[in-house]
């Protein structure tokens, strides 16, 4: 009997305590956004591609970036684009450093469009390539972002995250 009374008396405080806890959780998640990386581009690039076999890939120039990725290279602080030398291979690696975080949205959209385009090309006759595209990763981390189509996509992505 008295236990019920006690709970009733304190129900408000209990509920309010719960609200405080929920609020703290909410605020924590709201404010714990990823921070911009202070590492320079070369460090991130080397870290991301450490031990990755690039012998069948080619580092492409600005014209290729415009042509294949539909991106304007001058829009970014830094950008590199590796593409497989073999026309029938969908491997691609893109690493960018943004001048402004607002550019991330456009980059993401263009990369998604690129993956879609590639999937259309390879679907139906090259299932291996299609799989690679399905497992591809586009990841924006504040001022850095990458797009990876590769057998080693998990490794490359992990190394990308760790080098930031």
């Amino acid at each position: 009997m008295s236990k019920n009374l006690n709970i009733k008396k304190h129900i408000f405080s209990i509920l309010k305590g719960l609200i405080i806890v929920l609020m703290c959780i909410f605020l924590y998640f709201t404010f714990s956004k990823p921070q911009a990386s202070s590492k320079d581009f070369t460090t991130v690039q080397n870290g991301m591609l450490n031990n990755i076999d690039l012998s069948t890939m080619e580092l492409k120039d600005n014209i290729s970036i415009k042509r294949f990725l539909n991106l304007e290279p001058e829009m970014f602080e830094n950008i590199i684009y590796y593409k497989s030398q073999d026309a029938l291979n969908a491997d691609e690696i893109v690493l960018v450093q943004f001048k402004s975080i607002d550019d991330a949205k456009i980059f993401e959209e263009k990369m998604e469009a690129r993956i879609d385009e590639q999937r259309n090309i390879f679907s139906g006759y090259a299932p291996e390539q299609e799989d690679k595209l399905k497992n591809s990763i586009i990841d924006v981390q504040m001022n850095y972002a990458c797009m990876v189509v590769s057998q080693d996509v998990k490794t490359i992505h992990d190394q990308f995250l760790r080098s930031l």
């Binding site: 408000f12 405080s13 509920l15 309010k16 609200i19 405080i20 929920l22 609020m23 909410f26 605020l27 709201t30 404010f31 956004k33 921070q35 911009a36």
Partner: protein, 453 residues
Amino acid sequence: MIFNSLIFIFFFLPISLILYYLTPSLYLKNIVLLIISLLFYAWNDPATLILLILSILWNYLSGIQISKETKHRKLVIITSIVFNVVILFIYKYIDMIVPFEVDTSHVPMGLSFFTFSAISYLGDIITEKVEPQKDIVLFSLYICFFGKISSGPIVTYAKMQPQLELRALNRTKFYTGMVLFIKGLVKKIIFADQFALVFQGLSSNNSVLGAWLYTISYALQLYFDFSGYSDMAIGVSKMFGFDFDINFDHPYMSKTIQEFFRRWHISLGNWFKNYVYIPLGGSRVNNVLYVRNILIVWFLTGIWHGADITYIFWGLYLGIFVLMEKFFLKKGLAKLPRFISHIYTLLIVLIGWVFFFSPSIQSAFDTLLKMFGFGAASFADSDFLFVFTSYLVLIIFGIFFATPIYDKLQIVSYNLLKNKGIIITSIVYVVFFVICISLMVGSTYQSFLYSAF
């Protein structure tokens, strides 16, 4: 979502009104309104809905708890209010305190406004002006009714409570509300947004007249922006049966700074008066404490607008003039012709706005010096003339509508032209509504100035 958007005017509002008026009882209507309000709130940033709901629950429980609590009353009161203050503080002022970069881009819409509403509710319960609201639907509606949550006005619970339970839903109210909404839309789209272009066009101007027009255009932009949005809010609320008090009363007609704040952002001024100034003793104390009270209120008024030293400076600057008026200035002004008082007020207010819009105290003084001839490259340059001649019509009409002359003319036209006056007014309003839509369709997104507060 904001009122001055196509999606609100041509999608959200008509559908809400239809749903609302199709719903049978007032009880159900309130529930529908609550759901609509939550949807409105979640529209741009769904995550913040969680914060709103938590805040509503907290204050709902606190209201009842305070009225029941006897033993730890003081503790409960303080913690209840502090919760609200802390949330506000974290979102608005954390930048000032914490050394590292915090992402403050997701400030929940209307945080300052609904938090102040909640605090006023608790305050009124503490002073036993009102009974706590036990119906969660009605209480939630008080806090988050979409007609007033985004940028006010800050309506006291005492004013809204009887309307929650009973409100007249007659046609005249609906029509008047719609007209007020259109009026606010015109103020925002045709005046505020265009004055914003003038202001931007003169931002790097180095002439004396350029600096003056820069400041004057901001003064008019801010007035039309905020009073326009308030009109839209009060108009929308009226369409759902709520009568709220006006938030702006031709403030640029004021003859003293004291009067200015009885006419500018009235609901905020009232809030500070009732929940800070009067609890501190108001003017019923000795002079020292009185000065302290005034300075505290004005400091808070300044910082309410933003976590910047310029806002604090603006607030205290005006507070000092209020003090000067109280102690000697007002008597002096009363001896002079009225238009001198008017000019004095406009001048002091304009100078105040320079601090309000400048990014730093330094740049504020640079602008002020330019206005008075120091550091300006010329009296008037071609950039100033270009902007001035481009927007002369806007400037003239802007000043005209900042005065109550239009309202008087409206009454005269009804009396003289009788029914023709009705037709003319109707046509004018509809035409200007369409013009607003054309400007909205064409322009890039122009966000409401006060929505950051």
